[in-house]
């Protein structure tokens, strides 16, 4: 076993000793918030981990990387990467009882930058994540009407035909790109603020403020709904989905294993990044949440349970999503086929019902034989079920285009639409709680905020400030900015922070000390599995994933998809490269959190070095005098 521990003088002074920990709970009762009951804590953690990614990223990855075979790398990496990191964050939070900045500066003052990096990432991710919630709310508000507004195209001014952009693409595309986003054709073209999205954004930040106004005191109550409702809705959708025609096509498509995919490194890289990002590690929120626990809480069991729930939710959501996608693809396929059949029987005046899907090819041949000239003039669409199944099924495209289209084809569509968007709203909101926690608590630890200020004011100012910044996402080019942030703000910095976290706990704090702490808190030392994972396997995997991810991202050309009605291949999106100044933004967005780690370390080293000549004076002018009554005055 690797027994390397870096020298860390003064660690004992910065952290509570185990004896102090025993009595800490009465002392903290008035000053530090704590969970009302275990259920609140578990629901909050589960809610933070389970988010939009489980619903719209995992199913797509699963399907595109060999279906059922993808489960293998996913489950393996869940066990060797996700669970150990989760246990580590829970245990260190419960032991040191501070937010992320407090924890890392307790371990070693130089490491404060790790906490600051977590804070920046939580902030940046929170900004764009809440905008997505605003879009979900917009769709939710629009779901209370029949027929749904994205089920048909609006008419143009002359009332003679549908709006051209809509007729060429589809009603759902038009509703998303034009009536919701009113998207411009380039990120340069900012346009103006779209007032309807601004209203929804206001609502989203207000709801977030209501739920986080007093920290875990209020979020603890909110999670009873936001963490449980998605599961109820998913179950309802599962039942509804499985009874739709074509659902089995979708599920078969999802789970059919293609074992050759396992040989490709990109499959393992995607599985690793999905496990990592899905667990919401390195945001600092989980550390903060577990620091409110009682000292002897069994964090080992918690981490295993949360990991299992997270994995199960991903698979469950994937099944539900793909049953509905299978339904939509089958509907599309049937429509495509019907159009072809219609073309044939209209041209040859055959009675209806003579040509069906089964005898279509036979009839085609017969018609060709009867009248080749007329037959040659006909054009048939290619109907391929697989291509319908693999259409644009991840991210916002899944939720706002593909799924909404599927919903319009179900009976009682407004009900399904309302349920679906409430589920997305709850999933997003419960993840936002963790982000807010990951920003507010470090700000308090950094003493940037005066202690007198009540928590309501701090959260209020944070929400207000973030709200004003997110005006950017309500512009015509807002969606392009959001994709940019999504790709670069929440990826590389997190991987670096996670690696630093592991390294700090195992080698700076000392894994032996950590083991003793856990034995004190939980009752038994972590077994050999955890030891191997923490010391060797997980950091190695983190490093490999980070390097691979970094190489892939850096070598990729920076392009983005643009919705341009003037494009020849409209309604496909056009891929253009970003303008030059975007590179600067990317470097700032990804670089500032990463650089704050070494940056702060250097700053601390310089300060220590400058203070050293002054320290001698301190030693001289501190005599210890004995007083008459025996107290030692130092």
């Amino acid at each position: 076993m690797v027994r390397l521990v870096l020298p860390n003088p003064g660690l004992e002074d910065r952290i509570l000793s185990l004896d102090q920990l025993e009595s800490i709970e009465e002392e903290e009762a008035s000053s530090r918030p704590k969970w009302d009951n275990k259920a609140q804590y578990m629901l909050t953690c589960v809610g933070f981990c389970v988010g939009l990614g489980n619903v719209w990223r995992f199913p797509y990855l699963c399907q595109s990387h060999g279906g059922g075979a993808f489960m293998i790398p996913f489950l393996i990496l869940l066990v060797v990467e996700g669970m150990p990191l989760l246990y580590l964050e829970f245990a260190i939070g419960q032991r040191l009882r501070k937010g992320s900045v407090g924890i890392w500066s307790s371990i070693h003052p130089i490491l404060k930058g790790v906490g600051i990096a977590s804070m920046f990432v939580s902030l940046m991710v929170g900004l764009y994540y809440n905008t997505i919630i605003a879009w979900v709310m917009w769709y939710f508000f629009n779901s209370f009407q029949d027929p749904l507004p994205w089920s048909q195209c609006p008419l143009n001014e002359n009332q003679t035909d549908y709006v051209e952009e809509c007729a060429r693409s589809s009603p759902v595309d038009y509703f998303w790109y034009r009536e919701t986003l009113n998207i411009s054709t380039s990120i340069n073209d900012s346009g103006s603020v779209q007032w309807w999205i601004l209203l929804c954004l206001t609502c989203a930040w207000s709801v977030l403020y209501v739920c986080t106004i007093r920290g875990i005191e209020t979020t603890g109550k909110a999670v009873y709904i936001t963490s449980t409702l998605p599961y109820i809705v998913l179950t309802v959708f599962l039942i509804r989905g499985l009874t739709l025609k074509g659902a089995t096509n979708g599920i078969a498509f999802l789970f059919t294993p293609n074992v050759e995919e396992l040989a490709k490194p990109t499959t393992w890289l995607d599985a690793g990044t999905q496990v990592f990002f899905s667990f919401s590690l390195a945001f600092g929120g989980l550390i903060s949440f577990s620091s409110y626990n009682s000292v002897h809480n069994n964090c080992e069991k918690d981490s295993v349970i949360v990991s299992i729930i997270n994995g199960f939710t991903s698979v469950f959501a994937a099944t539900v999503i793909y049953s509905v996608i299978g339904f939509r693809a089958t509907e599309r396929y049937d429509e495509c086929f019907s159009t072809n059949i219609l073309t044939l029987i209209n041209a040859f005046d055959l009675p209806e019902g003579n040509v069906t899907q089964e005898n279509f090819e036979e009839m085609q041949r017969w018609c060709n034989a009867t009248d080749p000239a007329a037959y040659a003039k006909l054009s048939f669409q290619t109907c391929d079920l697989n291509s319908f199944l693999s259409q644009g099924v991840e991210g916002t495209g899944l939720a706002f285009i593909v799924f909404t289209e599927a919903i319009t084809k179900m009976p009682v569509s407004p009900l399904w639409s309302v349920l679906f968007f409430i589920m997305l709203f709850c999933l997003g909101l419960s993840s936002m709680f963790g982000n807010v926690e990951g920003v507010v608590v470090p700000l308090q630890d950094l003493k940037v905020i005066p202690k007198k200020w009540p928590k309501e004011l701090v959260t209020g100012l944070l929400c207000l400030g973030s709200y004003l910044i997110t005006f950017v996402f309500t512009l015509n080019s807002g969606q392009y900015w959001l994709s940019l942030m999504d790709n670069y703000a929440g990826s590389i910095p997190l991987l670096i922070v996670a690696f630093c976290e592991m390294f700090s706990v195992v080698y700076v704090y000392g894994v032996d000390r950590f083991n003793r702490d856990i034995e004190f808190m939980v009752g038994h030392k972590p077994n050999i599995f955890w030891q191997v994972m923490w010391r060797l396997v997980s950091p190695l995997i983190m490093l490999v994933i980070f390097l691979a991810f970094f190489v892939v991202e850096v070598t990729k050309e920076l392009t983005y998809s643009v919705w341009d009605p003037a494009y020849e291949e409209f309604p496909n999106s056009r891929r253009t490269s970003y303008p030059g100044w975007v590179y600067v933004v990317v470097v700032i967005v990804a670089g500032v959190p990463c650089l704050s780690i070494p940056g702060f370390a250097i700053y601390k080293l310089i300060r220590n070095y400058c203070q050293r000549p002054g320290d001698h004076q301190g030693l001289v002018s501190a005599p210890s005098t004995a007083s008459v009554n025996g107290d030692l005055k130092c």
Partner: protein, 209 residues
């Protein structure tokens, strides 16, 4: 009659998809249904100015196929000329709904191949529904925020008053020092910097009379 259809610019092709529209309840297309169709077309023409005298016999059908599709023309009372296409088109468009309903079909299943269907604009409520829902939810949230802030302020005020009251009573307790013989019985006064009252002061060396 085939002569009429030679000048086919005034003829219209009609296509019905009865099975698609009605499924099992589909009726068979026979001469009676054709009679009804002629009646509907004649009815539509009678609504046009100057054509009030159109009779069913002026509507001619031809080329009825199994699909079901056929061509038709409308002749003038002399039965020598066909009516211009524009007039027929206008008449059919005006009464499209009535014609559709007579056959239990709609614009997609009863097609007049050269006549575009008038699209029904989606009904727009005066206030978009989404604003109503947004208004309701936003008001609830604002009320909740105000209530939470007010209760937080009240809690804090109560807490501030609470410890200060406790402090007062503690001070009072400290101030009740037992006094014996006029001398406070707190010899080892650890408040710091106090004179040790166990020793008599200069003034009290002599007991008072």
């Amino acid at each position: 009659m085939a002569k009429m259809f030679k000048g086919a610019e005034n003829a219209f092709k009609v296509r019905l998809s009865i099975r698609t529209a009605l499924g099992d309840k589909a009726y068979a297309w026979d001469t009676n249904e054709e009679y009804l169709f002629k009646a509907m077309v004649a009815f539509s023409m009678r609504k046009v100015a100057n054509r009030e005298k159109t009779e069913i016999s002026h509507v001619l059908l031809c080329n009825v196929t199994q699909r079901v599709s056929f061509w038709f023309v409308v002749t003038d009372p002399s039965e020598k000329h066909t009516l211009p296409a524009v007039e027929v088109q206008e008449a059919i468009r005006m009464n499209r709904n009535r014609i559709n309903n007579a056959f239990f079909l709609n614009d997609q299943t009863l097609e007049f191949l050269k006549i575009p269907s008038t699209l029904i604009p989606p009904t727009d409520p005066p206030v978009p529904i989404w604003i109503i829902i947004f208004g309701v939810i936003f008001c609830i949230v604002i009320v909740a925020i105000i209530l939470l802030i007010l209760s937080g302020i009240r809690q804090r005020r109560r807490k501030d008053k609470g410890p200060s009251e406790v402090d007062d009573t503690e001070d009072k307790c400290e101030n009740t020092i037992t006094i014996e013989n006029g001398i406070p019985c707190d010899p080892l006064d650890t408040k710091g910097g106090h004179v040790n009252d166990a020793f008599m002061t200069e003034d009290e060396r002599l007991t008072p009379l």
